[in-house]
Subunit: 460 residues, 2 copies
């Protein structure tokens, strides 16, 4: 429990209006999108870089653990309060410090909402490519912590590819500045990308310099129905073997399709549809027909039932709203969603979903798969009633078989959600002891007292 | 000096045919492209990952420093032997371990020549974007060490952006495996990008998994002449403000133009040409005219004298051969080239070259500038006779003013050459003490005995 002295020290460092320890606030910050809850001892709301330096110094002096938090929209417990910690919420650090369209960059505080960055960029004919499903409410600080991505990653890459430099505060309260403001730079070690994806375990980011790109002129969308998962994912592999890279290549299996039915987006699917691809091309308006033609050519094949294009803006918006709703909508299938975010080589996707079907059958549980198939990145959700102990045990067995298969196929445990608390135990499947030990050693250099987001990312 | 016991231990670990300590071999490996020479104590030629593990273990036991080396084509002393070290040349580790066009990746040993990777990729309709000027002979291991780039970086990014994963040996002889084989992955810390650009100071890379892209169908080239550096670089800024990103945007000043005259590539320039841009677009053949038109529109402006397009393949090859020859050709101006590789924001380029002119005048020395202007990356070469002590002192003053201006403009010391031995003293201008200390602390985790490329990257 946070001592009265430590609490008073936080209040004196930040001002009383930035430190809350009442039960209601603590309960509000007790969870992220995982179904677990841990009340933090207090919640701090720094308003500036200097506030962050000040609060870390108090935390060091009183040995108080810190759980950094953006919007709390993560799926792996990254923002789940470490027991006995204070939550540091960045929602008051929400200012764009600089917008330089000529040099195509923006400097933001960690609490800026992801979508706001894209909106600002578009006001000058630019865009910010990373588009996690939660972009409408996620904070860029959380995106940096997990190296967030989204549908556009198949063409444009992930958060890591758009971070030029960072200002951050280490676990000793030291300020560090990494990277640069230009599109090239190789002075010293690349601490920028070391911090991106580190889940708030190395330093607290207080400012990020992000790269922007010229906005594509238009978008065209295809909805393609298939008779099986296998057929849909064979088509994905064909698409990724030809020259036109789509800006989205999203897969939904039968369960996912059922989950979006209430939105109306699945009303007109042909009979026998068991899997769906949403395929999008972007670029110049007069080039879209050519891209769509090339994509259609690659998508056509065994098991393809229908291919629709020419959606208007409203219909496209409805499709995407349905796709984005999935992460929450699948919870209707069963109260608990054990969510994985695995990646396998694109050429192995079709066999991988066959294996998932096999596991679902063997463990008698619904498993919902959807996601960014163009990157080989699937969100695999084992749905289970947490009050049914036997089913829960089978769910965990299912997860374990899936993880083992991912590694055997040359894949990785997480594509964009990170490890957090939820995937820690699987990390040794992918990372060998010597490499993991080096990561721990790096952690100790940034955070010698182990105060930054303890209990995350590393296995016990 | 290497002890007989250590030498015998290397021979016993690798076999006699992989260990040379004769004077001729040592002299062959005494330098890179910098004008300094240090004979190594021996040269080792490992043939496999296991050889590298074995030799590092011997080095640890006998506390022998290691200078890793690719082709020795670096410009900053990265492969200059550290005094009393053995050179580890990777030229025998030159095999492509795997080529997977379906998943768009290639797994290579560090001694593979950069251009061979591109050639292999093109055999399957793909390409490897990073194209350093030395690609015809540089080794991918050296490219990884310095995060090499080249003209195409303006559109496609740098080496860092194409590395999916690495296998490497740390300074304790431990094997580490980083990253993954898929285009997304966020399991554990990003050691991959930490190693890229670390100049062989953290680990010796023994295998790299590289990402490939679909090859563009065609290329079109513009040669644009300007009456001044300032006018040319204002045009660069205009190009980088509109939507068509060229795949090359190369600048040459008057000195650079004079240096390529012997190649014939400057024979037909209009009178009054003081600066040149080579601008290239790539993509579908039928889209190139549109791109060229957009680029021409952006390039036109004050001080533009001539814009030529429609070069045939031979003429384009001649232009590029001339451009690539520059790094060596400028040495005709004066025996010693103090080469910088600075980056400034694109919008600041024109003012920056005016400043360079001012410095050249004040210090009475020719300064040659050329390079990848679309990234704001210029190679600034102060030309001097090393036997003229006064001139040499002025050359160093010139360099220092230039570096200070780069930092004041929000730029960075190195865009693609790295720091090596030559830029170490400038590093504190860019990186603050706390950040630098963290880098040193990371170095100690990978290389606690300080055996990997000592005397590089960090200031004294």
């Amino acid at each position: 429990m946070l001592s009265d002295t430590a609490l008073a020290a936080f209040r004196s460092a930040l001002g009383g209006e930035r430190v809350f320890d009442d039960a209601a606030t603590r309960a509000l910050y007790a969870s992220d999108e995982t179904p677990r809850r841990v009340d933090p001892d207090a919640v701090l709301f720094p308003g500036s870089h200097d506030d962050v330096v000040a609060l870390v110094r108090v935390a060091v002096e009183h040995r108080v653990a810190i759980t950094p938090r953006g919007a709390g929209s993560g799926n792996v417990g990254g923002a789940l309060p470490s027991p006995g910690s204070v939550v540091v919420s960045f929602e008051c650090m929400r200012w764009v410090k600089e917008f330089d369209p000529v040099n195509r960059l923006v400097v933001v505080e960690p609490g800026v909402v992801t979508e706001e960055i894209d909106r600002l960029a578009r006001s000058a004919g630019l865009f910010y490519p990373p588009d996690p499903g939660s972009a409408a409410y996620s904070r860029i600080g959380g995106n940096l912590a997990m190296n967030a991505a989204g549908p556009r990653a198949v063409k444009y890459g992930v958060t890591r590819d758009y971070v030029l430099g960072l200002r951050a505060v280490t676990g000793t309260g030291e300020e560090i500045c990494t990277g640069c403001r230009t599109t090239k730079g190789v002075t010293g070690y690349d601490l920028t990308r070391l911090l991106v994806g580190s889940g708030g375990t190395l330093a607290l980011v207080t400012e990020a310099t992000l790269k922007l790109l010229p906005a594509p002129e238009g978008v065209a969308t295809l909805r393609v129905c298939f008779a099986s998962n296998h057929a849909a994912l064979e088509a994905v592999s064909r698409v990724m073997r030809q020259a036109v890279t789509p800006c989205a290549l999203e897969f939904m299996d039968q369960h996912a399709i059922d989950a979006i039915r209430p939105t109306g987006a699945a009303d007109d699917l042909p009979d026998g549809t068991r899997a769906l691809l949403m395929v999008e091309a972007d670029g110049r308006a007069d080039d879209l027909p050519r891209q769509i033609e090339a994509l259609e050519h690659a998508l056509a094949g065994d098991g393809m039932l229908e291919m629709r294009s020419g959606f208007d803006r409203d219909a496209i918006a409805q499709l995407w709203a349905a796709r984005r709703s999935l992460s929450h909508a699948v919870k209707r299938i069963a109260p608990l969603k054990l969510n994985e975010d695995v990646v396998v080589p694109v050429s192995a996707l079709a066999d991988f979903v066959d294996f998932i079907d096999h596991v679902a059958g063997a463990q008698r549980l619904p498993i919902v798969s959807f996601g960014h198939a163009g990157n080989g990145n699937l969100h695999v959700n084992v749905m289970v009633d947490p009050d049914d102990g036997d089913a829960l045990a089978r769910a965990h067995l299912a997860l374990e078989s899936i993880m083992l298969r991912v590694i055997a196929l040359g894949g990785t445990l997480s594509g964009e959600h990170g490890i957090g608390t939820e995937k820690r135990k699987f990390v040794p499947l992918e990372i060998a002891p010597a490499t993991l030990e080096l990561m721990r050693a790096i952690k100790r250099q940034f955070d010698p007292h182990g105060l930054l987001n303890p209990g995350k990312l590393f296995p016990d």
